[in-house]
Amino acid sequence: MNRRNRIVLSCVYWAFVLYVFVPLILMILMGFKDSKFIGFPIRSWTLDWYTGVFEDAEVLATLGYSTAIAVLSTIVAVAVGTWIAVLLEGRKFIGRTAIFGLTVLPALVPGIISAIAFRIYARWLGIEPGMGAIIWAHAVHNVPFVALVVMARLSTLPKSQIEAARDLGADPIVAFLRITLPYLMPAILGSSIFCLLLSFDDFVRSFFLGGYDPTLPVLIFAKLKSGMSPEINAIATIALVVTAAIGIWAERFTRRLNKDTQA
């Protein structure tokens, strides 16, 4: 690649970065504006919107609610996804491809369609809208990500590891708990963080399956209907910073774990 091409390429890249981040930067800036009206110019700055967020009981309750849903749906998704991965990886049986396809499907169905489907199914099963229904929908949606990530990791586990454990006196269950599971930890942790973020971020399923209590994205949406306010910017900024921090930490953490266990 010659020098001119490189310059053009880097210009295009930075233009793209700008395009992606300008809306986010604008959103963050407006959260510090000392006026109810969103838009330029910004004449004076304030942290009132942020302190307001922490004094707003509704926002805090919603934050707790969303977090609880994220944690519980992640636990379910990780348990089911890991179980499916262990079942499918390295084994050949009739229907394997079908089970694999069905496992991956929820990740591919458009959110709105799956949300409506869940709503109909929940009513048919007699499941009340609310926390349980949201957890159920989030878990189903997230299982494929866990299964795929864990399967990829599992496929790199040498068969001799399990045989060595068996050879030294471990029955299949002990071998799984003491050898397979620790080996899968980086994948399990990584996909857990991903599930947490997906669940926390989800609007469509939470909206369709929710009861009277809103999750955070649903609350933001509700607040928007009564007019834009910099408080929403403050909430969104906090959510953005926290999720980005968790994401970056998880990425580095799992990378280190992966490196440590490579013999």
Partner: protein, 361 residues
């Protein structure tokens, strides 16, 4: 259990993978304290035998007796057998100490005895200073010793070794061979070693079983296999040899008389005597040929011309053309100085009947 009963007895063990027969009716005893090596090319059935002994494969038919007990259907965790894996299979998330204690914990030993056994085995294998390291922080040779320590720690009746030297470089391998042999002697454990490397098999083993296509080709001491191969496969697989094709003439006492392009030669038949008139092949090791100025008294003697010399350092390989035997050729080792002195004059070579083994096909 008295010491005369074999530790392991394989009775008519056959293993099939689909249409492929990996092991064909193997019957074999392994004595206590023996260093047995299964030697053969890949796919010969040696690894299948090892995996059957470890409990990782079930034979299609036949039975495995360990210490007088039928263990054919026992899973690996129930057997008093441990294995050193080809890739060592050390647990990457455990330290050296934790790797070694894994088998001890599962045996239900208490903490104090585990600690004691760990220290014992680690000092025995000179791993004392590596206890808190992870496998990723060790060199190839150290990992190999940890794998050995882990397998020896639970005090198995039989230790299986699956080509554990394959991953080491050539220099280290020679050293580890000596070490392994000495560890086996000091522990007085029964070692079942699997390799495709004939040199490894000859240097370490008390007994070598040569396998080919799921069957035993020959079972004997390294010396027997080298100097008295029973079959063409064994003769060619182990070391370098001259193969002489001829016709069976008959027996003279124990000696087999053969016709080799008009020359009458006498050999012996470790794999059983062929019938008179059969086409046969005999193996004659390069170092068994003796050079002479005049016709020697040895029971086999032919005259030849030196047509090629290869300097090998400590010795020289000499190629001979035997005009009297329709231009057949023989290869022989001599010390380098003697080799240098050979010129255009014909030389005599001779060998005893014990040096030449008539082979089974």
């Amino acid at each position: 259990m008295n010491d005369d009963t074999p530790l392991v007895r394989l009775k008519g063990v056959t293993k099939k993978f689909g249409d492929m027969t990996a092991l064909d009716n193997l019957t074999l005893d392994i004595a206590r304290g023996e260093f047995v090596t299964f030697l053969g090319p890949s796919g010969c059935g040696k690894s299948t035998t090892l995996r059957i002994l470890g409990g990782f494969e079930r034979p299609t038919s036949g039975s495995v007796i360990l210490n007088g007990e039928d263990v054919t259907l026992q899973p690996p965790e129930k057997r008093q057998v441990n294995m050193v894996f080809q890739d060592y299979a050390l647990f990457p998330h455990m330290t050296v100490r934790q790797n070694i204690s894994f088998g001890l914990e599962l045996k239900g030993m208490d903490k104090k005895s585990i600690r004691q056994r760990q220290d014992e085995i680690m000092s025995f294998l000179e791993l004392d200073t590596y206890g808190d390291r992870y496998p990723a922080q060790l060199s190839g040779g150290q990992r190999q010793r940890v794998a050995l320590a882990r397998a020896l720690a639970p005090d198995p009746a039989l230790l299986l070794l699956d080509e554990p030297l394959g991953a080491l470089d050539a220099k280290l391998r020679g050293q580890v061979q000596q070490e392994l042999k000495s560890i086996q002697r000091r522990t007085n454990k029964t070692f079942f070693f699997v390799t495709h490397d004939q040199e490894e098999a000859l240097t370490m083993s008390d007994r070598v079983v040569v396998m080919n296509k799921g069957r035993v080709e020959q079972d004997g001491t390294p010396e027997e296999l080298y100097f008295h191969p029973a079959s063409r496969f064994v003769a060619e697989f182990i070391g370098e040899t001259n193969l002489l094709s001829g016709k069976m003439r008959g027996l003279e006492g124990d000696a087999v008389v053969m016709d080799w392009f008009g020359q009458t030669l006498r050999g012996h038949a470790p794999g059983g005597a062929p019938r008179t008139g059969d086409d046969i092949t005999a193996s004659l090791r390069l170092e068994k040929l003796r050079f002479h100025k005049a016709r020697p008294d040895s029971c086999n003697a032919v005259q030849g011309r030196v047509v090629g010399k290869t300097f090998l350092g400590s010795r020289m390989a000499v190629d001979l053309m035997i005009d009297e035997a329709a231009g057949a050729s023989l290869r022989a080792f001599v010390d380098a100085e003697t080799g240098q002195s050979f010129g255009a004059d014909p030389v005599w070579v001779g060998w005893s009947s014990d040096a030449m083994a008539v082979l089974r096909d």
